[in-house]
């Protein structure tokens, strides 16, 4: 390095062991600091995540009173709170006395600008979508972002039949129960949302058991923790 630097740290050639030692020390220290901060902040962060998730689920599944995470493990849904890498899961929504009412299904796909992640509520009994919430998107402000800002558009998904599949139509031409009024000027994002939900259905519907054989909700334990 430059001369004045040599002088700056006035040290004659240190031994390689010292180098390693220094690095090791630095690594150790930083590791310590990081871990402690991590431990300190973890609860708050996870709590927040959970809160956001809860709100989303309760948003898309209007009249449920409890929820739990249902992971798809070797061919069946099993209640399982903490998540693992690349395991697929939905969220079961239950009424007060623990009967399963519907599922909140996460799904994602390409939008106009970037990937759109959303969560939608599905009632197996009526084969209906009853709610949709965008979790993440980078659509254009003023156009694409109407997919979550435009109440009218979101309302489309409040009571939407999924048979044979959901289709988006030009604004104001909705006739059948499985149609969605696209946003004028943002047809592409609208279509994207619809496509993403359809794909979610394609992936999940045959995996979802009917209300009665779905994993039940152990009422007593959970009630304390998960009161709203």
């Amino acid at each position: 390095m430059s001369e004045e630097h040599e002088t700056a740290l006035r040290g004659n050639e240190p031994s390689s062991t010292r180098l390693v030692a220094t690095l090791g020390l630095a690594g150790l220290l930083s590791g310590l600091i990081i871990v402690s901060v991590f431990e300190a902040t973890l609860p708050t962060i996870t709590a927040y995540k959970a809160k956001v998730l809860r709100e989303a689920v309760f948003e898309v599944l209007p009249d449920i009173s409890r929820m739990r995470r249902l992971a798809y493990l070797d061919g069946r849904l099993t209640a399982k709170e903490q998540e693992e890498k690349d395991e697929q899961a939905v969220f079961g929504g239950y009424d007060a006395d623990g009967r399963l009412m519907g599922y909140a299904i996460p799904s994602a796909g390409p939008g106009f600008q970037d990937t759109i992640r959303l969560l939608y509520g599905y009632l197996p009994a009526e084969r209906k979508v009853v709610g949709m919430e965008i979790l993440e998107s980078r659509e254009t402000p003023g156009l694409g972002d109407k997919i979550y800002k435009d109440a009218a558009f979101v309302a489309n998904f409040g009571d939407l039949s999924i048979d044979p599949e959901i289709v988006s139509v030009k604004k104001g031409t909705k006739t059948a129960p499985n149609q969605v009024d696209a946003i004028t000027g943002a047809t592409i994002s609208s279509k994207a949302v619809v496509r993403i939900i359809n794909e979610g259905n394609r992936r999940w519907l045959e995996r979802l058991p009917g209300p009665n054989e779905a994993p039940a909700f152990e009422v007593q334990k959970e009630q304390k923790g998960r009161k709203r």
Binding site: G31, Q113, I188
Partner: protein, 192 residues
Amino acid sequence: MNDLVWIFVSALLINNFVLAYFLGLCPFLGVSGRLETSFRLGLATIFVMLITALCAWFLNTYILVHAPYLRLISFIVVIASTVQFIEMVIKKLSPALFKALGIFLPLITTNCAILGLAIFSTNKGYGLAQGMIYALGAGLGFTLALVLMAGLREESELAPVPRLMRGTAMNLIIAGILSMAFMGFAGLFSAA
């Protein structure tokens, strides 16, 4: 399969690292003066990115699942050593190239484009194949932007650009217009 295509196109054009994410601006503004150099730096970056993706995937699957908090540090260490390695190789193979790239190879080490790649593909939860495709797209996109920029800059050097405009201000405006043009790729292959 289909989503692999989209991942590639998205990284290459729609969400070009330089023009949409502002990543790797230092080399973008610093090196794009000469076409030759830009091209080589681009290639170097592609290479580093591919390796980064590989490392990122490895770390994510085997280490970070147990110690998520070490993500940043481990990424940096791995990437840094990779670049060191490349630097040595290049020094061996073509001293000329090494001269041409000057301080920029070390700069790639801490270049946000590289780190960004690792972090983004982690956030998006990409697997190995997806990650590699993503890296390839991002690298090529970076190179594309860099090369186009170099061509434009070499040409505008002959023009009587207003004195105050000269230098970085001009380059940023050029980049802005370029990024406007790239908006044309938005929605590519996503509109079914």
